[in-house]
Amino acid sequence: MTVAAGIGYALLTLGPSLSLFASVISKKPFLILTVLSSTLLWLISLIVLAGVWRGFLPLKSTSWWPYGLLIFSSVAFQEGLRVLFWKVYKRLEDILDAFADKVSKPHLFLTDKMQIALAGGLGHGVAHAVFFCLSLLTPAFGPATFFVDRCSRIPFFLVSAIISLAFVTIHTFSMVIAFNGYAEGNKVDQLFVPVVHLVAGMATLVNFASGGCMISIPLLYLIAILTLIHCGKMVWRRLIENRGEIGSSQ
């Protein structure tokens, strides 16, 4: 594809992340470091998964259940890693609070914690977008483009970019929901994130059917919007509660 189209696809998948980065994350250096470490963590998770599954690839493309198993195991591993990420973050929060005490500044505010969670999620989303979508774009610059049989109406890169955008949204805001769920001990939130991740992963299995992307892409976007709404409601609720607490404690 041409360079213009390539840049278009890249912006399609990473555009919202870029604007999120520029508006929220780039102002606080610590959040930039969080994004980088989170991206590294998810890259490591992908490498481990690739290592585990390397012996079995390439899978036979006729039946779909090996792929289902692949997705299930990958999602399970990544969700386990998310819990680990949370535990590391808890310890980091303690260190930061201790440091804040030392320099006589207030402890981390709720908005700070949510921003760190957002940065972590953005790292996850960017890792997904970069490795699943962008890394295939750049070698393909040139005169022609590529179509996949199963989704033959639009170029492969465009399909991949659209799916990646949905996943980026899901990953970014899932982290906020997850961290909040672990912090509050809210079982609904804690279960919401893995279930959503699994459903989204399985939804891409629909792509095996010919013309399946017509169904899977709207489904994925439905899931992404659901995640967004849930995250928005949760954040709003917590902010209102927090303001009430601060108001009552003054």
Partner: protein
Amino acid sequence: MAQNQRPRSILESLGEEIIRIITPVSICMFMVVILVSVLNSNSSSSSSASVNSIATIAYTETSSDSSWDKFLGALLNSLVFVAVVTVVTFILVLLFYLRCTKFLKLYMGFSAFVVLGFMGGEIALFLIEDFSIPIDCITFMVVLFNFAVVGVLAVFMSKMAILVTQGYLVIIGMLVAYWFTLLPEWTTWVLLVALALYDLAAVLLPVGPLRLLVELAISRDEDIPALVYEARPVTYNDTGSMGGVAQRRVWRGRREENLNDDSNSNANGVFVDNVDSESDSLSNASAVLDSNSDSNTLDNATLVRAEEARVPERDAELSAPLIDHRMNIQPQQQEDAVSSESLMLEGIGLGSSGAIKLGLGDFIFYSVLVGRAAMYDFMTVYACYLAIIAGLGVTLMLLALYQKALPALPVSIALGVLFYLLTRFLLEVFVVECSLNLLMF
């Protein structure tokens, strides 16, 4: 009930020094990747055959040799290179010991000119050829000459705007790194690993040349003449306090027992975040604040000028806090027909104003690694970039922990090479398989 003046949380400015060193490293790597992908889009073998240098003196790799032969040849090349570098470093230590500082400075200026003028010129010629830019010889020569001269001045005269100096240092790093990527593949990788090991040995072993150099410089309270990138020190104004007091945050250095003359130099910075100048309960930060008292009411831009103006009379002071300038020196070979040397530093240390200093050699070898990864595929570029930044972060943490000269290459190069191999042989197959079937998670 709305709080107008909420006290600032620590998240506003935590980690800023690290970002200030990661940004130029990332820019250098990014530019090298762009250069590599633009200039090497045609076959790479034709251009690598034309690079004859110290690094390929022992063995010239051809694509028809077996892997084992290539590996042995690359090993031979790297050993020769590291041996030459060691000898040159020892000569440097000797010259420094004999106080030939003038000669060293002149030599560094000369090598910076060669890098900017000749290497930069050749790369510019490649670009002009590739893109058919219409430019005539005389304009090109004039522009190139001016570019090189301004670069030399920027790097050695501290009166320049700090952005220009930093920009030129990054450009020098980028040019040398691009030339290194023209080496044959096996040689490049083995060379990187060999240099990382050499760096480790040279800085940490008691007999290592870099350690000797640093100790000499410390004992004499002199500045090592070398190319080093210094991140701009962090300073910000707390709008809540009166008069816009500028607060400084510098890294903590443990007070050395043998320091007796640095009462007002910023040798031992303290990692503090002064909320108010009045409530500054940390007395040892007052030394820092005193020496910067005239910058207190200035914002960043004017602080830079104030610092520059103070440089002449603070020359002695600037060199004094070499206690915190823990740097390693590693002269690098230029990939030129004329194998002249340039003195560039490697390693990480703390600057006089508490800013982090990173040797230019580190910039170069990080960028070489990423550039080489770019020659394979962009997935490896992303993976290696993240690995190198992680390594740099680890090194910075170790620096804050150990408070002594640390080599910046080993951790990053180790992680970079590891991630390159893992990505190339494991991740790529997996991700391509999943992506082509439109399976994502």
